[in-house]
Symmetry: C3
Subunit: 109 residues, 3 copies
């Protein structure tokens, strides 16, 4: 048993949920926020058998897209106001950031 | 040290919190959503000593109930509209889905 | 690769986010609730290289403060109404509760 924690963009959340249900994989969704952009995103928690890891990774990859986003810098990082450039910069946000954790025990009550 | 991630129904959330506090087990609650029913549920994150795993599993089992729920199918899963049956179906929702994760290091600041 | 789950007080959440960004550590934030005080707090999920664990623990320690809070007991724990003392008690809330989990596989799509 493994527990997958996958951070995806909100825009892909429903499509990924549907794809997981169609392939009979169960999941739980947690509302989350990105540390850098402070924008909402979705963290999927997916408990699966070891043999299904590759199949689920493929489903995540096929349903989550990389996107560009224009961001007005919030504040002078590192604190030096002189280096502060107020122009918006383009940031690329990946489709999914995925951590696969070992599970020692699994129970359903 | 182990970290328990337990997905329970919202209806049992306060009762489980109380039972954990009475037994001196600390926990953190995360608002979550079920991948299939898209209904709100609660994910408990409970860090415990190895020796307490069975005691906490018993507390979860005794305070979380299985329930039936009538669900109007949201959309034709798998995409084939002909197989779409609009009648509500009965779905059984378990009391708790529990993952026990190994913890390599624990700190309190 | 390790996954750090750190429960911190809401008051320290932005300061910790800023410090992580300044040090080029990526993180995701989950809104959470304390099992005992039932007050909102923040759970940080931080995926890092093994070599960065100590640096990130230091950043958490330096940006999260212990605080005292006066709490009016919500209900007679353990059920015995006679022992119920309605006076507020002082509870100390730690700066951070931190679990470091092993990661078997990490992917970015
Ligand atoms: N210091 C910095 N300077 C310049 N650009 C920066 C930066 N930190 C992040 N970015 C960029 O901003 C995007 C959004 O980051 P955010 O933290 O809001 O949202 C993140 C975060 O919620 C999560 N995430 C990524 N890596 C993580 C990690 N190691 N641990 C925990 N969560 C992570 O996945 C979301 C998407 O991450 P992704 O890497 O695809 O995309 C990132 C990255 O391309
Ligand atoms: N392996 C796993 N990984 C991560 N989270 C997990 C999980 N297994 C269960 N969960 C979480 O626990 C909740 C209850 O699951 P349970 O299997 O008892 O109860 C389920 C199950 O009996 C049923 N169900 C789920 N998927 C189904 C499907 N494809 N077809 C028919 N019934 C399904 O609907 C109930 C509610 O499911 P929902 O997804 O809304 O809510 C789920 C989900 O949030
Ligand atoms: N092993 C663990 N697993 C998962 N999450 C954990 C955890 N240990 C701590 N946490 C999380 O960290 C928050 C702060 O815990 P701390 O122990 O510093 O500060 C605690 C503690 O000093 C005190 N406290 C907790 N349970 C108590 C009890 N049964 N009797 C008296 N005081 C208690 O109340 C403060 C706030 O607790 P609260 O539950 O609202 O909020 C907790 C909880 O969300």
């Amino acid at each position: 048993m493994k527990l997958i924690m996958a951070v995806v963009q909100d825009k892909d959340s429903n499509r990924l949920s549907d794809a997981l249900v169609e392939n009979k994989f169960q999941a739980t969704k947690l509302a989350s926020t990105g540390g850098f952009l402070r924008a909402g995103n979705t963290t999927f928690m997916i408990g699966i058998e070891d043999k299904d890891v590759d199949a689920v990774l493929t489903i995540i990859k096929e349903n989550c897209e990389t996107r560009e986003q224009l961001v007005a810098p919030i504040s002078p990082m590192g604190g030096n106001a002189d280096s502060y450039v107020p122009y918006p910069v383009e940031v690329q946000i990946g489709g999914a950031t995925v951590f696969i954790l070992p599970v020692e025990q699994f129970e359903k009550f």
